[in-house]
Amino acid sequence: MTSAQEPITPPPARRDLLLGVAIVAVAAVYVRALAFTPIEARQGAAQKILYIHATAAFIALYVAFALMAIASILYLWLKDEKLDRVAESAAEVGLAFTTVVLVTGPLWGKTIWGAWWTWDARLTSTLFLWFIIVAYSLLRGAVEERGRRARYSAVLGILAALLVPFIHLSVYLFRTLHPMPILLKPSAPSMPAEMQVTFFSAFAAFLLLFAALLRSRYRIATLRDLVANRDQELAA
């Protein structure tokens, strides 16, 4: 069965309640983080960048790109187009979250290290991953035949995800300016309880935002394939 023959049901057009809830949750996190969370004594208010920087990094690396890799592996095995759409959607939403990481990180770095950027292992490998995911998106746009596009991008998606454990371990393997994990580590989190509440609220809110964006992006992928099917039917 070719990809173009697979029946696709058009996703219903209605207001996206999940996205609305996610936006409200993120707005609430902004208020809590900026107005109701104590300022860290040594780093000052810039430490609050943690709540948007680290949460975006967690979600991009351990949720979005992990999902992209799992969906890609399953696609290569099962050849189900839905899995290709999941991988494509997770990659693009993950790219948006990684962009937030790369935009907010230098602002924090400038206040703490006195430099916007340093070519250390953690920062460089994250930037490298961002470029690979950009290449993944360009590849998807460049290959027209759907089966081949899905196969090529699945392979690239899996290779890109192999960088994630390296990024996580880079602070242990190399001497870097980037701090060690303060939450995602075997021992107890080194953060006051009030800040932990803000951090985990932010994590939940941005996870909700990720789910809403992923669903929205998946709808677009479905509609695009449906339009391509109709175009093929008309051309036949």
């Binding site: 993120v26 983080a33 609050k48 920087h53 602002l107 964006l213 929205s216 339009v227 109709r230």
Partner: protein
């Protein structure tokens, strides 16, 4: 002494919001465009194809 660097935090929050909001707008516009295209393709008053007969 606690450093006064609130402007950096504010800038980071604003930039993050701009990235997310820009992406939401991009998704909304792309979905709307695809739905319009699909509606045109499904419309019975679609103009006849320019393809030559038998092609």
């Amino acid at each position: 002494m606690t450093p006064d660097n609130g402007a950096f935090a504010t800038a980071a929050y604003v930039l993050a919001a701009l990235v997310y909001a820009g992406y939401v707008v991009s998704l909304t516009l792309r979905e709307r465009r695809l739905r319009q295209r699909l509606a045109r393709l499904d419309s019975p008053s679609r103009p006849p194809s320019n393809r030559p007969a038998g092609a």
